[in-house]
Amino acid sequence: MFKRVTLAAAVFACNCSGDDTLLEDVASQTDELRNCSEVHGNDYLNVINAYLNGPGRSEWTSADCKLMAPIWTGDDDKGQLFSPLWRGPGGGIDDWVPAPPSGNCDGLKGTVRIDWDRAQNTVHYRIKLSNVPVSPTITRIDGGDPEILDPQNPNHYKPPGQATWWYNPFHRAPKDFPIIPSDGTAYRLWTVFTTFNTQQAPFYYDAQTLLLKGSVAEYPNGQPPNTIPVSFGNAAIYASSLIYPNRKGFASRDYTVPYNQVTSEDGYWSYSATTFVPINLCRSLQYQPVLGQLRPYSPPLLPASQGQPFDFILRQGIGFDLTIEEGRPDVPPGGDDMNRDYIYSGIGFLQNNPAVGGGVPWGWHASLPNAIQNVQPAIEPVPRCEGFLSNPHVTAPLFCQGQTSL
């Protein structure tokens, strides 16, 4: 704390011609940058560029240490993206971001480097994690939702302010895990299209109850009878395989997928068209959706043959979401039977969103509700090292039959 106060004081002293105020209780990532600088020199862009001009090394380099924001090179055909991963969910609605068990977030960081080459038909990932907890146990608290009851735990609800989990019949990730202790937990990097505008999918609501029955994933032959179709935008998410950090909390993983048809790391699957929808249509407004109830919805992963070309992905904007998942090494993203029970856990940990202009700085995260409603700012601050739930949307004004309040 003393060092941070000193830094703030120094800023005042250096800029006394008239400065903005640097909050002393909002620790600056400049501390970390300067620590890197002391060891590796002061020339940020030269260090980053030198790293990008060489092969992505597996150890934690000075470039990984220094990297403050995404940096891009090249074009659609051949280029690179090198992005830091900071604490927080990748956008996130109902993502629980746990605190590290140690309570210490110093040095907690990840980096992702992607090198793409259309001529070589390659998209090469290099993912590194530093100081992440090894196999953290996840325990969530049931939340109250007046209409969506968890049949397993009908009486265990807490008020929204205390809850870190809501039962969602269309996203049945386990509340607590690992279910089998010996499995432990691991990390998975999701590459996320960040354009909700471009892909739409129909969802079907019961005409009488107005409750969600499913989407085109459940009804591939079209609209079922006695339903109301409503279209919602979605974002494609692509998975790495599970990443297991070593006992020091460090991990390095690299893999290559085809440029012309991007797949998950394992090569078996392409993407899940994930979105956020109201379970009860009366609790949403199509043009101001974040005023209403929103819940994660991830249909099964599509086969590899439906993977999109990487230039298409680039032009939709790329985001990253590192989640904590059950650690069973033989389980692909999507679970044993590829049902919707477990596409992703809803436990966010590290993130960035290079599609946000300037990327997402340390201590902030991209705001998914703001993105959906197209309001600014696109980023919002997150707690520095405490656990928190990202943007829960449990209840909202009713928009059916002229009702505008509960």
Partner: protein, 516 residues
């Protein structure tokens, strides 16, 4: 999250230190962070635009393709008569049924697009006496040509919330009080991002379809979104609710599927196609359409010849788009030696920012469909105009002292100094006191975006006065005065793109700018 106690303590501390918290810190660290910020965008310089007609290279946005978008109907929906010679709001889009169920019909304050984007001034025989390029009259005060009973004045409070300086700013400078975050229901009613006010010019509409990022600060990503925001913000008095009246739903919704009436798309089609100037630039709208982008030929009326192709590509065959891209001055009628010298000076000293060939906006943009994560799909610049605040505009909000009542507003207002918490690239939060136009930062919330604005297109420049986002340069000479001043050379982008002109070069450049 911001800590109120520490915030107050720091504000007090800064006052004790004699620190003017409104000024923009500009240390070496800040310059490095700004460079890092700019490198964090994936900018492309390919000549492609994101309009309705040009979606062939992009993933489709909602509701496109738009085969039914009719620019001629759009002209009527914009608020013109069919000949575009006079205001006629009989088919204009500015009021109607709200999508908010239970709200019903919305009645506006009488404003339509043509309230600000006005037709040319004509004499009694119908001849144009003043080209307005779909903007406000050039002469101030505006009341010398527009009656006080015009919705421009009577509906003013919808924008500025009855700010005491607003009438003078509009009447004497042509500036509208804009609150970019006023309808953001995600944040509290008194959040500084909802209350911050900016005094901005009405942009004249030239080559609207050939720009990337809309409004003065580029915060709008595409034209449909821009038009929608304008239609809802300028006629509506209250900020508590954003009443979407363009997409008229089935009144029985949700019992039946929504059906939409999309006059908005007609307006966009009109604005995108009818403002292209000179006409050859229509080839940019859709290079795949041979009616817009013909092959060059010697035929009568062809806008380019095989000789042009040979000159720019080495081949005798090409299309108009290729010539326009390869020869950035192809459509500029350079005739005199002075204009030619001016063109070379422009190329050397101005095209670092005004880089779009034949349009002379800035071509750097994020490729692909407009992203969900707003805003900034273009490259904005700080050239020192905002900090100069030539008109000494008051950037305090004039705002409710208590939470407004829906549909009623607030009973009492007072001035309030706005302090924006801006995210800095190193993760810290800077409490920025707004005493000058924050530029793109008031939309993005990013410290590195302070005082940045979109690079405007320059065609028909001599008809576009007054200049800059705040109308502070009445002439082209005044524009060059600014770019030769310390306000520019000390600005963030002035340092990166220095301009040096002697008197002779300045005269040559002016001669060139006048023929754009």
């Amino acid at each position: 999250m911001l800590n109120k106690k520490n915030f107050v303590r720091l504000l007090a501390g800064s006052l004790l230190l004699g620190v003017a918290v409104s000024a923009h810190a500009d240390s070496n660290d800040d310059r490095l962070l700004r460079d890092i910020f700019d490198r964090a965008f994936r900018f492309s310089t390919k000549v492609e635009f994101l309009g309705l007609v040009t979606n062939q290279n992009n993933a489709c946005r909602p509701n496109c393709p738009l085969p039914d978008a009719d620019p001629n109907v759009g002209r009527l929906n914009f608020g013109f008569n069919a000949a575009q010679t006079a205001i006629d709001n009989s088919q204009a889009l500015f009021q109607g049924h709200s999508v908010m169920l239970g709200v019903g019909d919305i009645v506006s304050n009488g404003r339509a697009c043509t309230t600000c984007h006005r037709p040319d001034t004509r004499n009694g025989s119908g001849q144009v006496t003043e080209e307005l390029k779909l903007g406000l009259p050039h002469a101030f005060p505006l009341t010398s040509t527009i009656p006080l009973a015009d919705p421009l004045f009577t509906g003013r409070e919808a924008d500025d919330g009855a700010h005491p300086q607003a009438f003078d700013n509009l009447n004497n400078h042509g500036l509208v009080g804009i609150k970019p975050g006023r309808f953001n229901n995600v944040i509290a009613w008194n959040d500084p991002f909802r209350e911050v006010i900016e005094w901005r010019k009405v942009i004249r509409l030239v080559n609207t379809g050939l720009t990337i990022g809309f409004l003065n600060d580029g915060r709008m990503r595409e034209l449909q979104e821009t038009a929608r925001g304008a239609i809802f913000s300028h006629p509506q008095l209250f900020d508590e609710r954003f009443d979407d009246l363009v997409k008229v739903p089935n009144p029985n919704f949700p019992a039946g599927p929504p059906v939409f009436e999309d006059r908005l798309r007609n307006i966009v089609a009109f604005a995108e196609t009818a403002t292209i100037d000179p006409p050859a630039l229509r080839a940019f709208l859709n290079p795949a359409d041979p009616t817009l982008n013909p092959q060059c030929s010697f035929a009568s009326g062809s806008q380019c010849t095989p000789v042009d192709c040979q000159r720019v590509t080495g081949s005798w065959s090409c299309d108009l788009y290729t010539v326009l891209v390869k020869d950035p001055f192809f459509t500029v009628p350079v005739q005199t030696e002075q204009q030619r010298r001016g063109r070379d000076i422009f190329k050397d000293q101005c095209m670092g920012c005004h880089s779009t060939p034949n349009v002379f906006g800035n071509i750097e943009h994020v490729p692909g469909a407009p992203l969900s994560f707003a805003p900034k799909i273009n490259h904005t610049f700080d050239v020192g105009v905002a900090q100069r605040n030539t008109f000494n505009l008051d950037f305090r909000a004039f705002t409710c002292t208590t939470k407004p009542v829906q549909g009623v507003g607030c009973p009492q207002k007072a001035f309030k100094t706005i302090v924006l918490p801006l995210a800095k690239m190193d993760g810290s939060t800077v409490m920025h006191t707004v005493t000058a136009d924050p530029g793109a930062a008031s939309a993005t919330g990013r410290y590195e975006d302070l005082f940045r604005f979109k690079v405007p297109q320059l065609r028909r420049l001599s008809k576009l006065a007054p200049y800059f986002h705040d109308n502070t340069a009445p002439t082209l000479e005044a524009v060059l005065d600014h770019f030769q001043s310390s306000y520019y050379s000390n600005s963030a982008d002035g340092r990166k793109y220095p301009i040096h002109l002697n008197n002779s070069e300045r005269a040559d450049l002016l001669a060139f700018l006048r023929i754009l």
